[in-house]
Symmetry: C2
């Protein structure tokens, strides 16, 4: 017998978000714009990764960014500083974006002249995973200091993502983080998950990720 009890606490859920998300994707397809939904915990390096990703792709692609946050604008400020079109979405305390909220952002940003829009979702491994935003692909970042057990504890986000960036590999020597274990756990959740170990700070591994993303955008916008 276990030494602790397991209690299931439930709550009811959502409406017609999925249909709205499909409508957004169809609109983006028509105007040849790729939307990437980027998710992670707070502090895993989303904004730094995004800055490095833009540097690698901005010669080839016209890029826009939507930063979602509870109420600060430090991330949009960082993106605007490098001259990329960006908007800050304030969720008013909410922990995620749904398709309707994403659409408001896309409309404000203006997407007709963009090849790639990145939505930097609220820092959170739970709520953002529950909502299809209308993105063409979902990416998530797990950073080395967070630990390799996270696919066990936050299963849904690993299931709904197409790509997992394992960030901050430059600090691997100082943490008990097992790269093989995290691959194993993540692939238990999602066998098709693409995994790229990277360091956004040093640049290590970043080209494999940006090459993958470039290929995805080209397939979407040219097909």
């Amino acid at each position: 017998m276990e030494k602790y009890k397991i209690i299931e606490i439930k709550e009811s859920i959502f409406a017609d978000n999925d249909r709205e998300a499909d409508r957004i994707r169809a609109g983006l397809k028509a105007e040849k714009t790729f939307l990437l939904n980027l998710m992670s915990s707070p502090g895993s390096g989303k904004t730094t990764t995004l800055l490095r990703t833009i540097e690698a792709l901005e010669k080839d692609l016209r890029i826009g960014v939507m930063e979602a946050d509870i109420d600060s604008d430090v991330d949009a400020a960082a993106i605007a500083k490098i001259g990329v079109r960006s908007i800050q979405l304030h969720t008013g305390g909410m922990c995620h974006l749904d398709a309707g909220m994403t659409e408001q952002g896309l409309r404000e940003l203006g997407t007709a002249d963009l090849d790639l829009v990145v939505l930097e979702n609220v820092g959170n491994l739970v709520c953002p995973a529950e909502f299809d935003t209308g993105a063409v692909k979902n990416a998530m970042i797990l950073s080395v200091p967070e630990g390799h057990d996270k696919p066990l504890k936050y299963p849904l986000i690993f299931t709904v993502c197409d790509v997992l960036l394992i960030n901050k590999i430059d600090v691997l020597p100082w943490f008990d983080f097992d790269l093989e274990k995290v691959r194993e756990y993540a692939h238990m959740r999602n066998p098709r998950l693409q995994i790229f170990p990277v360091s956004a700070r040093t640049g290590e591994g970043m080209s494999a990720w940006t090459d993958w993303l470039r290929t995805q955008v080209e397939a979407w916008t040219k097909a």
Copy 2:
């Protein structure tokens, strides 16, 4: 003019959670049990900090633990292993616990013979902060790798907490983390916030935190 727009996205909110939380606190007071609500991002070291905290206090206090998680039970297993009474609360995908959910947990755990109950909340800096669980004090952990800008980006949790543990200070040399800046930002949100820099891994700084907690529990259970 800013180079990016700020858009306020809103949603309606909750019912009578605060009254329920007050009722829970009154019940705990009557039976001389202190409830600590421990919050943080995924991977900031909640469970390790809790294990070290229990080691320091278990001679003086009778302790129980409620682990809240989406659907794993690795944390309750870790706590049960050291012989402490614990239960795992599964939130069924929800990102927080409210007072009603906490009360279900307290009832299952049984609190009459306990001095201190720790609720390890879901790993998340947004949703848990929105709900009074009925705890006597709220504590949060921010770990060095997450960055010192988090009080700017997740203001509410810093506002509602009584204590901030800055964990993983053993890896300070390898991160751009400014301890003075995080103190400044956190105190902007909450001037009365108690801040303890610690390393749950090495034990550094932990006694200041556990002394503080012991004093709080004694004040609550003896007054």
